[in-house]
């Protein structure tokens, strides 16, 4: 019997007078990688920590691997892995010691040696955690999160502070988990990370889901309209359109060689920023001039 790894309906959590999570719905299907995006304070971490059993919810229906996180036991905990935001703990133990030690906690762990190889830390096996670089440290965190052979992995902002190369190789590592059928719930600030890894993106603002979809179709067709830019009569002009080819053809007919011609697609980042600033004005700073209205100048 297959259950949906993560099933959330109408989740609510309040801290004092701040409604951190305000009726959030979220589903993660078997084998899927879902990225949760949102500005700081949007309720991402609160939501994930409720799913992991760290916090109690005020209201809503939550099932993680078929169980209520509020009452999940050891067996339930053995079925998922958690990679928290970067920590500096466990400093004095070596990579090999830690991976082997954490493997003992689980009923049917992965082979620790294979996990060390998989995260690319074979060379550092005898190195203490405190001496690892930021990227290596994060790989160790992942190794400890997956050594129990989890069905579901929570990755909380896994590549914050990485250099571009370290991020690429981290993404390869996550893709490898996907290939093995692991379900992954990822929170991130990086749009390119969501684009590279996620099957589906969920944008959260003010404790609610404001949009979701594949990275390619987030925000719907309107938000994805192409922008055609050119210069006419000495002034820059812009047009948002579903048919950029026809627009350019028309311009070419009218102007010949079109001065300053550019055809742009909004990036996931443009779409995201528009969504977030729409949902909670002031929570995110949209690029100057971004306007969600169709058929108007974008920049």
């Amino acid at each position: 019997m297959e259950t949906t790894p993560v099933h959330v309906r109408g989740l609510r959590k309040r801290y004092g007078d701040k409604q951190a999570v305000d009726g959030l719905d979220l589903t993660v299907s078997q084998g899927e990688i879902v990225a949760v995006l949102g500005p700081n304070g949007a309720g991402k971490t609160t939501t994930v920590e409720i799913l992991e059993g760290f916090r109690e919810r005020d209201a809503g229906e939550v099932r993680v691997l078929g169980e209520d996180p509020g009452s999940g036991g050891r067996l339930w905990r053995s079925r998922f892995g958690v990679v928290l935001q970067s920590g500096q703990d466990l400093a004095e133990a070596t990579v090999g010691e830690l991976v082997r030690h954490f493997a003992l906690f689980y009923p049917s762990p992965r082979d620790p040696e294979q996990v060390i190889d998989a995260v690319g830390l074979r060379e550092k096996e005898r190195t203490r955690a405190r001496q690892l670089s930021g990227g290596q440290r994060r790989r160790l965190d992942v190794a400890l999160g997956i050594v129990g052979r989890p069905e579901l992995v929570f990755l909380d902002e896994p590549t914050t502070g990485f250099d571009p190369q370290a991020r690429r190789s981290f993404w390869d590592l996550v893709s490898g988990l996907r290939a093995e059928g692991t379900t992954i719930l990822l929170t991130t600030h990086y749009l390119d990370e969501a684009e590279a890894l996620a099957d589906r993106v969920v944008v959260v603002a003010d404790g609610r889901v404001v949009a979701e979809g594949t990275p390619g179709e987030l925000g719907g067709r309107t938000a994805r309209r192409a922008v055609v830019r050119w210069t006419e009569d000495g002034a820059p002009r812009e047009l948002r359109t579903d048919t950029p080819t026809a627009v350019v053809a028309g311009l070419a007919q009218r102007l010949g060689e079109v001065p300053g011609l550019q055809v742009l697609r909004p990036t996931l980042e443009d779409v995201y920023l528009a969504l977030v600033s729409e949902a909670s004005p002031g929570a995110a700073t949209a690029p100057a001039g971004t306007d969600p209205q169709p058929e108007e100048a974008l920049r």
């Binding site: 801290y15 609160t46 920590e49 992991e52 059993g53 760290f54 916090r55 050891r74 067996l75 905990r77 053995s78 892995g81 958690v82 928290l84 920590g87 500096q88 703990d89 466990l90 400093a91 004095e92 133990a93 010691e97 030690h101 954490f102 003992l104 906690f105 689980y106 009923p107 049917s108 203490r128 400890l144 129990g148």
Partner: protein, 281 residues
């Protein structure tokens, strides 16, 4: 043989087995923090050397004639009690506060490791730490300061229960007190003065009978005074009862106070223990 690897029973490893694994892990981490280990192990030895030398210069002793007691011998029991307190209370209160602050506890909480195995690991580490601590202190006292070691089984029995109760009470109180420091960085600044004050009022550095009586009364509320007194009953001859405040070793009261702290520490520790930092919701 047929391949039946697919039907693996998903039995969780037992808490006891994990407790042993945690003890090994804790000990390894503990002894790798060299600065802390050196301080905790050397402190009572150095203090014993200083106080024995300062008070015992010119051949001064406590009492006169054949019953006189050297200062090294008089201070040794207090230092043993101090060593147990450092290796149990101070070491746990600081290390758990740091682990909580750094997120190590939260990380463990997200695994199927049972909390009992975590605490078994701490208990194992404290026990080994205390034993090594006291063994080192006794060796230095016997070999360097010629302090006579007790020879009767009765004395060593007393030693065993005072040591055991003291270490256990210190450990659970350490777990409970680890919630007091607001951060890992402030932990040693918060914990050390508590330990130091107790040492001064509990007769570790001075003869307990020469302290002001109000100070003796305050000290009687805390376990260190009783642990030190229990250890004096092990390492000092009965003639030394003359300079005990009550004129008796008070073994019953010692056991009662240490047990009371064990129970109080356990209850408070269980109720206040947090896996996450205070500012983490």
């Amino acid at each position: 043989m047929t391949a039946v690897t697919a039907a693996r029973p998903a039995a969780l490893p037992g808490a006891l087995r994990l407790g042993v694994a945690r003890t090994r892990y804790e000990l390894r981490s503990y002894f790798r923090e060299r600065d802390a280990v050196v301080f905790i192990f050397a402190y009572p030895v150095i203090m014993l050397a200083i106080f024995a030398t300062v008070f015992g210069r010119d051949g001064d002793q406590i009492g006169e004639g054949p019953d006189a007691i050297g200062f090294a011998q008089y201070f040794l029991p207090g230092m043993v009690a101090t060593g147990v307190m450092l290796s149990s209370f101070q070491s746990l209160a600081i290390s758990i506060a740091v682990e909580r602050d750094e997120g190590a506890l939260k990380r463990l909480r997200a695994t199927p490791l049972p909390p009992s195995a975590y605490f078994l690991g701490k208990v194992g580490q404290v026990l080994v730490g205390c034993l090594l601590q006291v063994a080192l202190l006794l060796a230095v006292a016997a070999l360097v300061f010629d302090v006579p070691m007790p020879t009767t089984a009765q004395a060593w029995t007393t030693f065993a229960w005072v040591f055991g109760l003291g270490a256990a009470a210190g450990a659970v109180c350490g777990v409970a007190f680890s919630s007091v420091p607001r951060s890992g960085r402030s932990a040693s600044a918060v914990v050390t003065p508590v330990v130091l004050v107790l040492q001064f009022i509990s007769g570790v550095f001075f003869r307990f009978d020469q302290l002001p009586s109000w100070m003796q009364s305050v000290a009687s509320l805390f376990p260190l005074k009783w642990m030190a007194q229990g250890m004096r009953s092990v390492f000092l001859p009965d003639e030394a009862l003359q300079i005990e405040v009550s004129g008796s070793w008070q073994h019953g009261a010692t056991a009662a106070v240490l047990l009371a702290w064990l129970v109080v520490g356990l209850v408070v520790g269980v109720r206040t223990f947090r896996w996450r930092r205070r500012d983490d919701g």
